[in-house]
């Protein structure tokens, strides 16, 4: 039986005046998938999330969530969404548990049920001890975890995370990943944006890389690395000798400052030839990563 996609977008567009924030993107996300949107700042990731969340109306194109059109059925869709926004918008007038109970009420979950859910979720994100603490007393990592708990209060069928680990230290980031992994294993459909490439590589089943409102590539992390960076990459110190050597060998390479990266299907041979004939400085052979894909597709210029 063919499964119906959880989200389906076709030629989706969003203009802000003359700016084409999202410029005709198409994708479909299947149940149980963890799907990532990567891209530099201003790529259109957050705008795409806001259209899926039914809070920002599209300019053109088709967008359905759970098979429902986002313009016509925002309440029905939002009923089953869990949203972790990029900005921490917890209710600073309330404690942790009050935040969850108040938020549950917005979904029509009240009384004993709300209290039980809130307690369970605080336990899940390891914040039970902070139950009655005001938001301002929480660390950045705790706030992000509480937002994750808040996003789960309505038992969502789709979880949308916009930069879930932004600004967190490594410990807090790993704990967040652990929680997301647990949700993934439990069969949840998760959409996330990130510009931490390690995060995308760890968590995503499939992902797209966006730039300037367009999708550049889509695929599994492993496929993208293989297709766009090569399984292994040779890095060698930059010198005129090395460059002329590589030109003679006829391999694809790029110069980044004082490093030359060589993309080849036979990295070990390239490295051996470099060492034996070109008198290089240091030569490394390392695994290709999503970061290589990202940089080769979006360039190295700063975005903001």
């Amino acid at each position: 039986m063919a499964m119906q996609p959880i989200i389906e977008a076709h030629d989706l567009r969003k203009d802000f005046g003359a700016l084409k924030a999202v410029d005709g993107i198409s994708f479909s996300i299947m149940p149980g998938e963890v799907y990532g949107f990567l891209g530099p700042n201003g790529a259109g990731k957050t705008t795409t999330m806001k259209m899926i969340e039914c809070v920002s109306p599209r300019t053109a194109g088709d967008l359905t969530v759970f098979g429902l059109d986002v313009d016509n059925n925002p309440r029905e869709i939002k009923r089953w969404l869990g949203v972790v926004p990029q900005d921490t918008n917890l209710d600073s007038d309330f404690s942790c548990i009050q935040n969850l109970i108040t938020y549950a009420r917005y979904f029509g979950i009240m009384g004993e049920e709300a209290r039980r859910k809130a307690t369970d979720l605080l336990d899940f994100v390891q914040l039970s001890e902070k139950r009655d603490v005001l938001i301002e007393k929480l660390s950045g990592g705790m706030k992000r975890r509480l937002i994750l708990a808040r996003a789960l209060v309505n038992s969502p069928r789709l979880l949308i995370l916009d930069e879930p680990t932004i600004g967190l230290d490594p410990q807090a980031r790993h704990l967040m990943w652990e929680k997301l992994k647990a949700l993934q294993t439990a069969g949840n459909t998760i959409v996330l944006t990130t510009h931490y490439l390690e995060e995308a590589e760890r968590l995503c089943d499939r992902l797209v890389i966006m730039d300037q409102g367009k999708i550049l590539v889509e695929g599994t992390p492993a496929d993208l690395v293989r297709q766009h960076a090569g399984a292994e990459i040779v890095e060698v110190d930059h010198s005129p000798d090395v460059v002329s050597c590589l030109e003679k060998m006829g391999v694809r390479f790029e110069v980044f400052g004082d490093i030359v990266q060589v993309f080849s299907d036979h990295p070990k041979e390239v490295a051996t030839r470099l060492l034996s004939t070109c008198n290089p400085g240091k030569v490394f052979v390392r695994r290709g990563s999503l970061e290589d894909v990202f940089l080769s597709l979006t360039g190295r210029a700063l975005r903001d």
Partner: protein, 270 residues
């Protein structure tokens, strides 16, 4: 929990903002915050009238004596109530709503749930009106204790304070919707609320003003209407303008209710 419209119906009426019964959840959120610190919140409405009654009513009243045959302290008592309706709701839906909208991002969090922006703003307006009712009722107790208002007609002030509160909430929310920052809310606060506080027949009758200003005040100042109605209730004497002011408030309240939701939607849904 809410009235939903079929897609076809919805598209034609996009211009008219339609909040639903879910608004009470937003109202409840604000009420929960208010009652967390209710002692602090109840202090101003109790202390303020005492100060005004002593300073203006009895102090200044010594020199004024009577206005239209009414002791001065009895004359200003309903004005204090009307000013309280205005302040409690207007400032709630300007500075406080602005903080929730802009700094705390509370509205953003709410519209990620089944609540719509219409529900959120309607909930805010209803809460502003409720605040007016709470403060005015507390103040009413003080005024009754001082024996400066008539009973039982003064009890009508309680339901009226909700209506007037809804009006001033709507006006305040319109300013919030168009204010670029929190500082620019000082313009309506000082250039609109403060003059209105003085020139609405509050501490002296409008009849002492030049006729043009009298007419202008009666035509455009919402507080002038609230004072006329509150005074009719606390003195148990119907003003000839009672029906006019009541109609004025009913129409203006409806207008500003929908206008403020519309403006907020324009600001927040991009």
């Amino acid at each position: 929990m809410y009235f939903s419209l079929s897609p076809g119906e919805r598209s034609g009426i996009d211009m008219i903002p339609l909040p639903t019964t879910s608004s009470w959840k937003v109202w409840r959120r604000n009420a929960d915050v208010f009652f967390k610190t209710y002692l602090v919140n109840f202090l101003p409405p109790v202390i303020e009238p005492v100060l005004y009654l002593l300073a203006l009513g009895y102090g200044l009243g010594m020199f004024v004596g009577e206005i239209d045959g009414i002791p001065y302290v009895h004359y200003i008592a309903p004005a204090l109530l009307a000013v309280s309706m205005m302040n409690s709701s207007f400032f709630e839906c300007t500075y406080s709503s602005f903080v929730r909208m802009y700094y705390q991002k509370t509205f953003d969090a709410m519209i990620s749930t089944p609540l719509s922006i219409e529900d959120v703003i309607a909930g805010e307006l209803l809460w502003g009106a409720t605040r007016s009712l709470i403060y005015t009722s507390a103040m009413l107790v003080v005024l009754i204790a001082f024996g400066v208002i008539s009973l039982p007609s003064s009890l009508l002030v309680i339901p009226f304070s909700f209506l007037a509160g809804l009006l001033f909430s709507g006006i305040g929310m319109c300013f919030t919707a168009i204010s670029p920052g929190i500082d620019t809310l000082n313009y309506p606060a000082y250039l609109f609320i403060t003059p209105m506080l003085l020139f609405s027949g509050t501490f002296f009758p409008l009849s002492v003003l030049p006729p043009v200003l009298q007419t202008a005040a009666l035509a455009i100042l919402p507080l002038a209407q609230a004072v006329i109605i509150a005074r009719s209730m606390t003195l148990a004497t119907l003003s000839p303008l009672f029906i006019y002011s009541m109609a004025w408030i009913a129409i203006a309240t409806t207008m500003f209710f929908f206008l403020s939701i519309h403006l907020m939607k324009r600001r927040l849904v991009v």
